[in-house]
């Protein structure tokens, strides 16, 4: 009786809403530091601000215990050159990582300097980061003294730049020893440990509350941020948060180009909850964004594809030899010790395999040859890498229970047989985000950003390190300012917007609205881009805004949440297109090709384009490629008081 239909059939009626309904009721909360988004970055921000002795409120749409992209787990602690087994200088590694167009030198420097300290703090609060039970003795990369498990990722080859598979010699590692900058971790232990520490430190956690808008001084766009509004997605209660400093740590927008719930489940790599809310809040408040014109290929997953990320030849198959149906080894890189961390095949190799399939040289389907691996390496990949990496944990569990034995069985790969994502299906969030300075402060006073909320974000440990850093900086700011009076008019305006869908019981439901937005993006922001198509997209989205949004209806607080997320997606889509219009050039790293400006990366366009609202009007600007200056010097100048691993109670 666990499905709604079976319940209905047995009881003859639908179940009552299981939570108290508090539409229109208000709750007001005051804190020194407010954190919006309780994922990895948000939890670390809250912990770090609370450790400064401040009063912290944390707002999370799901439940902090498992929410966010890193909620289920994490297998790699990347870019940790400060770990004792690393053979590269942290500053040199940071500079190397930042030697890519449109990356974030500030965040990378923070990650490289501080994420190992962050890892040690994580261990202290209950995260498992070493092979303490000696399960993997003898595995390559395992250090018997520290019991850290180094990953083959980035040991020599750096494939984070697509197809640039070439070894690099570092001044700090002239003999070319393995770089040892990535640590394998037991990430499924992290999120519960972070929530526990938040609670222990007295952080006031507001789970199942969606942040909806930022409050600014006098309710003015561009004014100092003095709090935020939210809505509880189980009770419908309206929340007013007053704060001296606010940290945004929500994520990008995962499903702007595609929605398919029927058959597909949530059909991409990010959960539906990732809907760009924070970016849109900041945009409305007048904060400056950048790189919003960049997009990626939608990483469709469960339902439409088989979710081992993209299948064999991918990070999730770390170190597993890949073979064809007859057992012939494929020339795909496997991100293992053999190829020293290479992940993505070059277009030449990809093409060679494709042609080989057509000529009968390689037989489909392909397999991960787990039985061919030495036992300890097999265990490290199956139990640790796949077993701890986010949503693959449940896949491993299911396979184990169904009788799969990695020492005996080949695991099928879906590469080639499931095809590629359609070029019409783009993905937002490839580098788009808030402009930040060396304090991770945005362009608005009182507003800080961390993790995926910033422009050009990276991975799990980046979110952790920047969250921890933003918490520290926001706390320092909060100490200097007093609480400001919120504008009742601004609150009332937001309240009317938030509750509009529950005033109706028919019209357009959230799924239809989402699909309508996605279709506009598929048609007019496809692989074919030019000014005329962008204008058609804006016109079509404006029509949705004017004609369909007023019909949006939500039957309960949960569906209200989804409806409000749609409104975030709608605004996010409009920002993307405005940013695309502003870049009158094509660019490979931004995956941005305009028919009307076909020249790729002309030197005069090698710059960040910024976009914000001023008095309700879109205003664009620019920043030089390395606007953050000398990374080492800037970091040191801004962190003279940094005391390393937390030693307090």
């Amino acid at each position: 009786m666990s499905t709604w239909h079976s319940y209905f059939k047995e009881k003859g009626q639908a179940p009552d809403w299981p939570y108290p309904v508090r539409f229109d009721q208000e709750q007001e909360i005051s804190s020194d530091v407010l954190v919006i988004g309780g994922g990895i970055a948000g939890c670390w921000a809250a912990i770090s601000a609370a450790r400064q002795g401040l009063n912290v409120a944390l707002v999370e749409k799901g439940d902090t215990v498992r929410s966010g992209a890193g909620g289920p787990g994490c297998d790699h602690w990347c870019n940790a050159p400060a770990n004792p087994l690393s053979n590269v200088d942290p500053d040199e590694w940071a500079e190397h990582m930042a030697d890519r167009p449109y990356c974030n030198g500030i965040g990378l420097q923070i990650q490289c300097r501080e994420n190992f300290d962050t890892l040690l703090e994580l261990e202290k609060i209950g995260g498992k980061v070493r092979d303490t039970e000696d399960e993997y003795v003898g595995a390559e990369g395992r250090d018997d003294k520290t019991k850290f498990m180094i990953s083959p990722r980035y040991t020599k080859v750096h494939s984070y730049v697509p197809w640039a598979i070439k070894p690099t010699t570092f001044k700090s590692n002239p003999e070319g020893k393995l770089n040892n900058v990535v640590i394998r971790v037991w990430g499924s232990t992290f999120k519960p440990a972070l929530k526990k520490e938040c609670k222990r430190l007295g952080v006031k956690i507001f789970d199942r509350v969606m942040g909806t808008g930022l409050l600014t001084e006098n309710g003015v766009q561009g004014g100092r941020v003095i709090g935020a509004t939210g809505v509880n997605n189980r009770t419908g209660e309206f929340m007013i948060f007053k704060s001296k400093a606010t940290i945004l740590s929500t994520a990008g927008a995962g499903s702007i180009w595609l929605i398919s719930t029927e058959l597909g489940g949530y059909s991409n790599m990010m959960s539906r909850a990732i809907s760009g809310d924070g970016t849109v809040m900041a945009w409305k408040a007048g904060a400056e964004l950048t790189t919003m014109e960049g997009s990626g290929v939608l990483r469709i997953a469960t339902g439409l594809k088989h979710k081992w990320y993209t299948g064999a030849g991918d990070a999730s198959y770390e170190n597993v030899p890949l073979v064809d149906a007859n057992g012939k080894r494929l020339p795909l890189p496997i991100q293992g010790w053999v190829d020293a961390g290479a992940m993505v095949p070059s277009p030449e190799v990809e093409n060679k395999i494709r042609e080989g399939i057509l000529k009968g040289e390689y037989a489909l389907p392909f397999y991960g040859d787990f039985p061919a691996m030495p036992e300890v390496e097999r265990k490290a990949t199956w139990n640790l890498m796949l077993g701890e990496e986010s949503t693959t944990k449940i896949i491993i569990k299911t396979f184990n229970e169904a009788g799969y034995d990695p020492s005996r069985d080949l695991l099928q790969s879906y590469k080639f047989i499931e095809g590629n994502s359609l070029p019409q299906w783009g993905e937002a969030g490839y580098g788009g985000g808030l402009v930040v300075d060396w304090n991770l402060k945005t362009t608005l006073d009182g507003l800080y950003a961390a993790g995926t909320q910033m422009f050009a974000p990276e991975d799990h440990s980046y979110a952790a390190a920047t969250g921890r850093y933003a918490g520290r900086k926001a706390a320092a700011y909060a100490r200097q300012v007093s609480e400001s009076k919120i504008s009742r008019e601004q609150v009332d305006r937001e309240k009317a917007r938030v509750y509009a869908p529950i005033k109706r019981s028919s019209g357009i439901e959230w799924k239809e609205l989402h699909a309508g937005i996605a279709r506009v993006m598929q048609y007019y922001v496809s692989e074919f881009k030019n000014e005329a198509l962008f204008n058609m997209a804006l016109g079509a989205l404006r029509k949705i805004e004017e004609e369909s949004v007023p019909l949006l209806f939500a039957l309960d607080p949960h569906k209200l949440l989804r409806s409000l997320e749609d409104l975030s997606l709608l605004s996010y889509a409009q920002i993307i297109i405005q940013a695309m219009k502003a870049r009158k050039a094509s660019s490979v790293p931004l995956n941005f090709r305009r028919i009307d400006y076909p020249t790729l990366d002309p030197p005069e366009w090698n710059k960040f384009l910024t976009i914000k609202q001023e008095n309700g009007k879109v205003k664009t600007g620019e920043l030089p490629m390395t606007f953050w200056g000398n990374m080492k010097n800037q970091y040191e100048a801004h962190n003279k008081d940094y005391s390393g691993v937390y030693k307090g109670k």
Binding site: P72, K393, R408
Partner: protein, 99 residues
């Protein structure tokens, strides 16, 4: 018998309709799965002690925390939708299996 069956008019069942299957004999209705789901797929059963109800199965992201974090082994099992059940092959015999 079939002719006497009472039929109520209900909307189509969504696909997937049941991303997990509960064992009501093992599940004690602690609602851990309800809390750890970042999507809020479940709701607590109106009857205390009974397995939760899947209210929004079509929103499932297959994150798996509901099963991974369940304190009572066997109380909840992942039920991959049919199009999502992975394959493997016995290396020695060539026999193909599916979840």
């Amino acid at each position: 018998m079939m002719a006497d069956k009472k039929i109520t008019a209900v909307p189509n069942v969504t696909t997937p309709s049941a991303p997990v299957i509960f064992d009501p004999d093992i599940c004690d209705g602690c609602n851990t799965c309800v809390e750890v789901c970042q999507i809020d797929v479940f709701m607590p059963n109106p009857e205390k002690g009974k397995p939760p109800i899947m209210l929004h199965p079509d929103e499932c992201w297959y994150g798996g925390c509901c099963v991974n974090d369940c304190p009572r082994p066997g109380a909840i099992k992942f039920n991959w939708p049919l199009q999502q059940r992975g394959y493997w092959k016995n290396k020695a015999t060539g026999e193909v299996h599916q979840i």
